[in-house]
Symmetry: none
Subunit: 142 residues, 2 copies
Amino acid sequence: MSVTNTPVTSQVSGPIPAGPCGGDDCGIRDVLDRLGDRWTVLVIVELSKGTRRFRELERAIPGISQRMLTLTTKRLCRDGLVERNAYPTIPPQVDYRLTEMGRSLAGAIFGLADWSRDNKNAIAAARSSWDADHPGTERAIQ
Amino acid sequence: MSVTNTPVTSQVSGPIPAGPCGGDDCGIRDVLDRLGDRWTVLVIVELSKGTRRFRELERAIPGISQRMLTLTTKRLCRDGLVERNAYPTIPPQVDYRLTEMGRSLAGAIFGLADWSRDNKNAIAAARSSWDADHPGTERAIQ
DNA sequence: CTGTATCCCCTGAGATACTG
DNA sequence: CAGTATCTCAGGGGATACAG
């Protein structure tokens, strides 16, 4: 009850300071800013299979909303990773494809995908082992 | 005008470097669930340089909070990507290092980092070009 | 079909304080 | 030093309605 003044929690959630940190961070933050959201990588992977229309992307990526698909494709176009072609037909038709740069990024992403496939089981095993040794804490760190 | 009516060169599945994953999403979601947050990749990159103590990680990764560093390292330990060693000294000393699996993940991440370095300028150029063609919309899609 | 415009909720994560 | 506990908040993103 004695707490009278409101805590001034000015959040200051800006960009990561990108400090010198002695060495280098490999410019990893740049990719992270681009690929860090929930949908971008999935769109790139789908487009790596070929040209796709808006609706095709939507169906191929379960759970994505119209809004997020629009935002994601637009960001990718802006970064020069995806090319958008609109045909003024009725009904309208728009398709998307990776640019050359986008395809090279897809290649790097596949490196991670391969790693994921190769290590999926090992991770699952590590998890259940950890969970067995640390009962009751699994939920807290999710 | 962004409606470039270029004929589609049906490339489909041609020149993408490493792609054994043909029909599905390659299990990309699994890596994304693990690497999708703000700090995990940065911790892995830092640990790829060698063993680090808690405080060393904190200093090496500007902006991370004690809470997030604890959470992140704990998650990485749980997944078997990082190994934690605590020495019962006073004051306590704990250090973290990548496991073999963690190092292989770091390798895949470096693939992305390399890509980022190589394409940073091209992306910046694409952006300003796009922004010039679409005045007033840059903010909406960030 | 291909988007835009709103509303709104949930989760990630920062600030702060405390412990062994 | 190496954490844990709690409060708080901003914004990412879902749902929905509307438009060309």
